[in-house]
């Protein structure tokens, strides 16, 4: 399912990043956001959420959350 | 007499300032500083 539909405080494993934006995909990769990595939603504000990837907190928007498949 | 001295000093100051401004322009220094690092050029991420 897409991350935007996922539950808070549960650790998921990323299956894929669905986007045609290659540059964004590469950038995410270098942060550790790629298939096989663990991701947890810390807070969900609707249009933005705070996630934990690779021991760091990031704020991402709904668009990006829809592109991450867990 | 005093007038000429003061006038002369002022002119020298003006010339120095103009010179500095022109040199700065050539080196590409902007007028601002980065709020986070406080440095002169911004490689603010």
């Amino acid at each position: 399912m897409v991350l935007s539909k996922a539950k808070k405080h549960v650790t998921y494993t990323i299956q894929d990043i669905e986007t045609s934006d290659e540059a964004m995909k590469d950038f995410l990769f270098s942060l550790g956001c790629h298939a096989g990595q663990a991701i947890t939603i810390i807070s969900n504000f609707g249009s933005n959420m705070v996630v934990n990837i690779n021991d760091a907190r990031y704020s991402i928007d709904l668009e990006l959350a829809k592109a991450i498949i867990v | 007499m005093v007038d000429y001295i003061i006038g002369g000093v002022l002119i020298v100051i003006v010339v120095l300032i103009v010179r500095k401004l022109i040199l700065d322009k050539k080196r590409g220094i902007s007028c601002g500083s980065c709020p986070s690092t406080g440095g002169n050029h911004c490689d603010c991420e």
């Binding site: 995410l28 933005n48 991402i60 668009e63 | 007028c31 911004c42 490689d43």
Partner: protein, 661 residues
């Protein structure tokens, strides 16, 4: 000996670089990007070896051969052969940092790891087996705290030791990554697995980062899309209160006192020996004009100090998070917040930083609008009017910043309507650093640096402008000295008066105020400087000297405008086009004359229209009548609004034609 400094953004690299080096040189930019290249020599007291040169490479998460920024590190190493690479790593985030490290280790140059933020590690109950890690990576590791300047000597000694030795890579992929994108991606996946395993072996966390902690609890309120905004307003108000209403003016009083003494001293020295013109030039033009501006230095420095504290605490990232959904609604990306924040210091680096915005239209829109955020140069203007007309009230400054933000939102909507919404989906991602108690030391350093900049600007550009203004107001066109009372015949007055005519509907149709606004385009501080020169006021802070009595005041009789008009004048100067230097930066980013003229036209119209409404409506409320020039101003505003509406309609039409056909 040459050392390259490499590491992730936010790893403390800049802090380490500043801690290691004495004087810094900026040798232009790295090829192909807007990042400045910084080099410096190691401070003498840190190492017995002399002439160790450090080059600060741009912060990056990875060295890919496919993007400009990421190629710089590899190119630098291959072309300029540094002796050693210091890889600075954030100890609280090994897994992300080590990804880049393993790439650096494959370059064949000896690497020394500086494990930074060691103090945070113990607090977060993370245990790192350094011996194991060092062995697995094949390079030495030195614990440092860049902020506290610990471990620097040991770091440099280790570098000197490693010079000349060979460096084996820690990770070798199975494919030749330079062949093509797929092969590279394959290798990077393998690299990622390697790093994960490595980290599992050497790092033990007693606190799981996937679980909620106190910082998250704070964020639930502070970063909340609804609660976050009033919190932001309160914080900003507090910052202004301290810098503009309390601590700032308190300190400024002393400074102004000294300036006054200096003025009197020089006046005495010159006595009757010097011609009146030169006296006026030196006393009012130079000391008075520059002094008026320098008098605001404490207010500005305190403000920057507080903003630096705010930034250091990690709060600013949350502001970006809060603003993102609203910015999206007007067609901008959350990343547009960064130029806006930078512009509160100076709009020039702010405009240049729009280059990181990927979408072309969003980038240009942000570049055009970011100068509406009041910059450091506009602060003396705000402080002047807040002080003289509004008793140093903190709400004036806060209001100006919020107006700036609102205008940017409005402007973004208008530009989108004129150009059509062509942006593709843009993703917003921003790292949220942990909250931390801000470093007073760092904020202090930032404040001093900005204070220095301010003073330098004051005694160069502004000094020149003041001298020019003083000369132009003392002489008439046939180079005769202008008599007392006949000021309107001076060069300055004759140039400014035609413009002053258009400003009548805004409440400040005086040539002196028009002249001040014009000089504002050279540097916004000049508005204050020119006013000081033209009205012969040498300081605006010392309110006892200006004896404000509610309502009819000495100042308003000196300046000849009402309080409402003063507010209108302030708004006018803040929200018109920025100084020429910033317009130049805008020109570089907009890349088209059409956009540039559109931007300047939009800015001019905005300042005029806002001032018009404030003056006319304010005068109506306070006196029951409209101000002078109602019709003329209305016509001008009508032309402005009309042009915008026309452009919007034209875009609508062309879209409908396309769809119809």
């Amino acid at each position: 000996m040459r050392i390259a400094l490499a590491g992730n953004p936010n790893s403390g690299k800049t802090t380490l670089f500043n801690a290691l080096t004495g004087s810094i040189e900026h040798v232009g930019n790295w090829p192909g990007v807007t990042v400045a290249r910084k080099e410096g020599f190691v401070k003498k007291q840190l190492s017995i070896h002399q002439n160790i040169r450090i080059v600060d490479l741009p912060g990056t998460y990875s060295m890919s051969p496919f993007t400009n920024e990421e190629r710089i590190t590899k190119d630098y190493v291959q072309q300029e052969h540094p002796d050693v690479i210091i890889n600075i790593i954030d100890a609280s985030n090994l897994s992300r940092s080590l990804f880049f490290t393993t790439q650096l280790l494959s370059l064949g140059v000896p690497v020394v790891i500086a494990l930074n933020k060691w103090d945070l590690v113990t607090k977060k109950a993370i245990n790192i087996d350094m011996t194991h890690l060092s062995k697995d990576l094949g390079c030495p590791i030195v614990e440092v705290s860049a902020l506290r300047q610990d471990g620097l000597k040991k770091l440099l000694e280790t570098c000197v030791d490693r010079k000349g030795s060979t460096q084996e890579p820690a990770f070798i992929g199975h494919t030749d990554a330079t062949l093509n994108k797929e092969a590279w991606l394959e290798e990077e996946k393998e690299r990622s697995v390697f790093v994960s395993n490595l980290v599992k072996h050497v790092e033990k966390r007693s606190i799981d980062s996937h679980k909620l902690n106190q910082h998250d609890a704070i964020d639930r309120i502070v970063a909340h899309p609804y609660f976050g905004i009033p919190i932001f307003i309160v914080i900003l108000y507090g910052v202004f209160s301290i810098s503009q209403a309390t601590l700032g003016p308190f300190l400024a009083d002393y400074l102004v006192g000294w300036i006054d003494l200096f003025y009197a001293f020089v006046a005495n020295l010159m006595g009757t020996q010097v011609s009146p013109f030169l006296q006026a030039l030196v006393l009012d033009g130079v000391i008075g004009g520059v002094g008026a501006i320098v008098g605001f230095l404490p207010l500005i420095m305190v403000l920057f100090f507080m903003l630096a504290l705010l930034e250091d605490s990690g709060y600013m990232a949350r502001v970006a998070l809060i603003m993102d959904p609203y910015l999206k609604k007007v067609g901008l990306s959350g990343r547009s917040i960064i130029p806006m924040v930078i512009s509160t210091g100076c709009a020039i680096p702010g405009i240049m930083s729009t280059r990181t915005i990927r979408d072309d239209r969003q980038r240009k829109t942000t570049a055009m609008l970011t100068s509406f955020m009041p910059c450091g140069a506009k602060l003396p203007v705000i402080a002047l009017f807040a002080g003289v007309f509004f008793q140093d009230a903190a709400w004036v400054g806060t209001l100006m910043y919020f107006m700036g933000i609102l205008i940017i939102f409005f402007g973004a909507i208008v530009i989108r309507k004129i150009n059509g919404d062509t942006s593709k989906a843009s993703y917003f991602i921003m790292e949220l650093p942990e909250y931390r108690f801000p470093s007073f030391k760092r904020a202090f350093i930032a404040m001093i640096s900005q204070g220095k900049q301010f003073v330098i600007k004051a005694v160069t550009i502004i000094l020149l402008s003041n001298i020019l203004v003083q000369i132009m107001q003392t002489f008439s066109w046939n180079l005769q000295l202008v008599e007392e009372g006949a000021e309107a015949t001076s060069i300055l007055a004759s140039i400014a008066t035609p413009l002053a005519f258009i400003l009548v509907p805004l409440g400040f149709g005086l040539w002196q105020l028009a002249a001040a606004a014009i000089t504002g385009f050279i540097a916004k501080e000049n508005v204050v400087g020119t006013l000081a020169v033209v009205f012969g006021i040498t300081n605006f802070i010392d309110l006892e000297a200006l004896e404000v009595v509610a309502g009819t005041t000495e100042i308003s009789s000196i300046m000849g405008i009402t309080t409402v008009a003063a507010l209108a004048y302030l708004v006018f100067n803040l929200f018109t086009p920025p100084c020429f230097a910033a317009i130049g930066a805008m020109n570089a980013e907009l890349e088209s004359k059409k956009w540039l003229y559109g931007a300047i036209g939009f800015q001019l119209g905005m300042g005029y229209t806002l001032a018009y409404f404030i003056y006319q409506i304010g005068t109506l409320i306070t006196t029951g009548q409209f101000g002078s020039g109602l019709i003329l101003g209305f016509l001008i505003v009508l032309v402005y609004i009309g042009s915008i509406v026309y452009l919007i309609k034209r875009n609508d039409q062309s879209r409908m034609t396309l769809q119809g056909a």
